[in-house]
């Protein structure tokens, strides 16, 4: 079957989709977006977390046909998504979002270690939470990172001043087998603090 849906702000079409296929498979194998990781395929690990109509979900548990007409944001589109959000939302120019080619060519081009001074450049290649993960050393093997980034970014959108408990709860569906989570928690705290400072500066 054919599935039409929006990925990272741009309309996409996937063809020859098997009816039992997951959204994760469509993203990775049909659209060539391997950022969302395929690990447990049973919703246990959170590595495949994407946003479906704004809500964080395990893309391995969404049937491809269920996303017809709906909006998906993957880790490849996270930087642009966060940038648009920071600028107040709607896409007036119509040129927002992330094309498939941009998404496929995405790599982590950070602004270098930040000390927290100064605002990120307007066309940041990294979302604040991505930059914070780099700065806090929250990435080891990196396999869980995309899912954690999507989940953490959503929490900070909903809850700009999270307590440690809020962070643990929001990330409780994402497993990391390297870090012991401490640096990940540091990174989310850092992103929240920077977000707060920036809010005050405006």
């Amino acid at each position: 079957m054919r599935v039409n849906f929006t990925v990272n702000g741009r309309p996409q079409q996937a063809d020859d989709v098997w009816e039992g296929e997951s959204l994760l498979y469509v993203l990775r194998e049909r659209l060539g977006l391997p950022g969302s990781k395929n690990a447990c395929e049973q919703g246990e690990c959170g590595s495949c977390t994407v946003r479906l109509d704004g809500v964080p979900v395990c893309s391995c548990l969404v049937a491809a046909g269920q996303v017809e007409g709906r909006e998906v944001v993957t880790v490849e589109g996270l930087a642009e998504y966060a940038r648009q959000r920071a600028e107040g939302g709607s896409c007036a120019s119509g040129a927002c979002g992330t094309t498939l080619d941009e998404a496929k060519g995405w790599s982590a081009r950070g602004a270098g270690p930040q000390t927290g001074e100064g605002a990120p450049s307007p066309r940041a290649a990294l979302s604040p939470v991505q930059q914070a993960f780099i700065d806090a050393g929250a990435v080891q093997c990196g396999f869980c990172t995309p899912g954690l980034l999507v989940a953490a970014d959503e929490m900070l959108e909903r809850n700009p001043s999270p307590t440690d408990e809020d962070i643990r709860e929001a990330l409780s569906g994402n497993l990391c087998r390297c870090t012991g989570y401490e640096k990940i928690l540091d990174a989310v705290r850092l992103a929240a603090a920077r977000q707060e400072r920036q809010g005050e500066a405006v």
Binding site: E19, E41, G43, C58, L61, V62, G65
Partner: protein, 296 residues
């Protein structure tokens, strides 16, 4: 495989009547795992995500009419006062990602003995409204679970609404697992005090072939609370009553040994949870004006 995408409830019923083997899918928590692991290859998948009424709820005089697909996240956010036991149970379901999509209808459809919602529904009192093109049935929750992963649904029926009694007293829920998130219950226990009828109801999860009530424990406790005048006096429940209640709850289990725990452990843990949750709810009851919202 065919993917059926009804746009309305009527279309969904028609599709299920035409294809009784169709597997309904909403949050995908159970169905997608079975497909991903090739444990199941249904001829038809029946997507219920576009049926709006399944995602809605309504708070009435007596009960909450909960659409089958209302995500656990919504229950936690919006129904803590009306359905404290179910809200607590919802919070123990898997992870935020899963709770954002999964709902009670899917839990009932799978009818696993370990389903997190079931003990809370048994304790609160609930009816499951199911429908087919032939008409509507209301199945009492006590008659809904018919065997391991079996329920009282006919092949052409779909779960529409869960009618859960609004809390008239404190409710609690306890679940044993190896960690807080992403855990299938080793065993679970739900309790609801119903001061209006001066009764206590319970639900046991994952410690018998189906979710069950601890009926003898309930009957014992109802009699003991009545005889001792506890409902009026609000006195602390004596340790001997609590122990007898716990022992009877434990005896209501009919568990197995499996990868998550032994039968012996489950019986033991259910007794402990029964005693503890009784203590918590009774403290809330004694506290009177204190919030009925779940505390976990």
């Amino acid at each position: 495989m065919d993917f059926l995408r009804p746009a309305s409830w009527e279309e969904a019923l028609a599709a299920k009547a035409e294809h009784p083997t169709a597997v309904p899918i909403a949050g995908g928590t159970d169905v997608m795992v079975e497909i991903n692991f090739d444990h199941r290859r249904p001829e038809y998948l029946l997507d219920l995500n576009r049926v709006e009424l399944l995602g809605e709820w309504e708070v009435g005089e007596e009960d909450v009419r909960l659409g089958a697909s209302v995500p656990y996240t919504r229950i936690m956010e919006h129904l803590r006062a009306e359905l404290p036991g179910l809200a607590l149970a919802s919070h123990t379901v898997a992870s935020p990602q899963i709770r954002n999509r999964g709902g009670v209808g899917g839990n009932l459809g799978t009818a696993s003995p370990a389903g997190d919602a079931h003990p809370a529904l048994l304790a609160a009192g609930a009816e499951v409204e199911v429908e087919s093109v032939r008409g509507t049935r209301f199945i009492p929750i006590d008659a809904f679970f018919t065997g391991v992963k079996r329920n009282a649904l006919q092949p052409d029926e779909l779960i529409k609404t869960i009618h859960v009694k609004k809390a008239d007293g404190p409710q609690q829920y306890s679940k044993v697992g190896t960690r807080n998130a992403m855990v299938i219950a080793v065993c679970a226990f739900g309790i609801a005090l119903h001061p209006e009828t001066r009764t206590v109801r319970t639900g046991i999860g994952s410690a018998a072939p189906t979710p069950v009530r601890a009926r003898e424990a309930e009957e014992f406790l109802n009699a003991a609370l009545e005889e001792g005048g506890f409902w009026d006096s609000g006195r602390i429940i004596t340790p001997s009553i609590a122990k007898q209640f716990a022992d009877l709850a434990s005896a209501a289990c009919n568990p197995i040994d499996d990868v998550r725990g032994t039968a012996r452990y489950r019986r033991h843990a259910v007794g402990i949870m029964a005693r503890r949750t009784l203590g918590w709810t009774w403290e809330q009851y004694r506290g009177g004006a204190r919030t009925l919202e779940g505390a976990a």
